[in-house]
Symmetry: C2
Subunit: 292 residues, 2 copies
């Protein structure tokens, strides 16, 4: 029986500490750390994420600012929104809610975010530093950092471990692979073209599943005693629930739980950590800017 | 018996094509593509590499410019040298010979190179693009690109292959892992903390050895039929040679050659490709700048 990694509880504990630090910051400087969010389009999931992030800011005593732009916006409009947040002294962290509409040049927009305010760590320069040995980004992306905290909380030995990352997205798979490598894991990056995924997963001491496929990874693939971080949050129909659906991860929990040493919950695993790491980065940005 | 990958011959063929293209470029624009090199310190290997690069430029009809600075230089002096090359219209590609002296901030210097002239691909923004899915750097680093050309020349099936990269240096290991991933290989990055290197190598269809340890990887570790690219160039004593030394790779050639399907030579494998890719990137930079 695996230890169930309760991201909700870990996030609650961390957010309580962040709220204390925010109170100290406010008492010292007379203003609160502020997060600015840029969102373009009306993607329902994105709208929900932005609402959750703003609510979390309020709960720890931070300010939040949202620039909501129509889906049919222009590149110039999105860029102006980012620059306005760069110039706004009440904004210490900037988050571009991804994905942007397909006609917007995402890489260019991310590259406009002030390096001092890049709390999501997606500025190309921060990604470059994340990928390189001996360099540190100003901020590491939130979801991958949250995965690392969950591993630390469960006492995972990362250095020298075989870590298999399933999925190579820019938001989770690639940056989490880089963080694991910085922590001296041997890292294998798997994806849709991988020939024998079960065979590779079977050798992993640490499995990070981030492919967005409901219950794709089976318990029979796991090495007994593996530590499993499930980043997926997939909506599946379930007539037995009041809403008619529920959320499941990328890992088949029922079959994985008896084999793994530890496994994160979905929902309530990585999800709450993402917001927590964003709050922590925003506080850090405000502290650094105040000290300049 | 493995096919021996002759980087020297492949480089010669590619450089002949580059020389033709340079001649066309000169006839059209009235000037030659130019490479500017910045070197600080008196590292003997670096001096040799700079000489080899300048000689290769001459052989294909390119100009080359070298800024040689004392080891006890200041950060400001190195930065001024880079900026001068940025501003010099006769220089289309800039190479910072690494390593810089330890008191120089390498990341900062690399970040000053004009993105249009970053033919070694080590500007943080280019590394960031290299690491990300769906993005392309202006230029990919020379040695890793040379490894990819050798794989293509030998007809390696990269997509879906298990590729094991041994070594995670910023110059070879990390960027070649990213190039392999972009080509849809399943990539495992191994290093000094890796627990069971022979076991991991045994599963690899493609092995890239880049650790700088003479004959470290043994033939018994290889999967029969693997394709091996040996990036190492290690000087070892050999009383039987005229000079008293010879160069060996990171792979024990004698034991690997009977097991591998193909293996690159040392010397004469990856080494000549590095210079070739640098020349190719410099030509490309000149073509792009001329078209602006």
């Amino acid at each position: 029986m695996a230890h169930i990694i309760d991201g909700q509880a870990i996030a609650r504990k961390m957010q309580a500490k962040i709220a204390e630090d925010v109170a100290v910051f406010k008492a010292h400087y007379g203003y609160a750390p502020g997060l600015g969010v840029v969102m373009a389009g009306d993607n329902a999931a994105s709208q929900m994420y932005v609402r959750m992030k703003r609510r979390a800011c309020g709960e720890v005593g931070m300010e939040s600012f949202a620039t909501l732009i129509d889906a049919n916006t222009s590149q110039a409009e999105v860029e102006i929104a980012v620059k306005a947040l760069n110039d706004n002294p009440a904004v210490h962290g900037i988050l571009i809610q991804l994905p942007l509409p397909p006609h917007i040049d995402e890489e260019k927009v991310l590259g406009l975010v002030s390096l001092d305010k890049d709390v999501d760590g997606f500025h190309p320069v921060n990604i470059g530093a994340l990928a390189m040995k001996g360099r540190e980004p100003n901020f590491a992306p939130a979801t991958p950092s949250g995965c690392m905290v969950l591993l630390q909380e469960v006492g995972a030995k990362i250095s020298g471990a075989n870590a298999v990352v399933i999925g190579r997205s820019n938001i989770v798979g690639l940056p989490v692979a880089m963080l694991l490598l910085k922590a001296n894991a041997t890292v294998t990056i798997c994806h849709s073209r991988t020939a024998d995924l079960p065979g590779l997963v079977r050798q992993a001491d640490i499995v990070i599943a981030a492919i967005g496929q409901p219950e794709f990874v089976k318990g029979s693939w796991l090495k007994p005693g593996a530590i499993v971080i499930d980043v997926g949050t997939n909506k599946v129909d379930d007539a037995s629930t009041e809403k008619g659906y529920r959320y499941v991860g990328d890992v088949e929990f029922a079959s994985a739980e008896p084999v793994a040493a530890a496994i994160s919950k979905v929902p309530g695993g990585v999800g709450p950590m993402t917001i927590t790491m964003l709050l922590q980065n925003t506080l850090l940005a405000a502290q650094r800017l105040a000290a300049k």
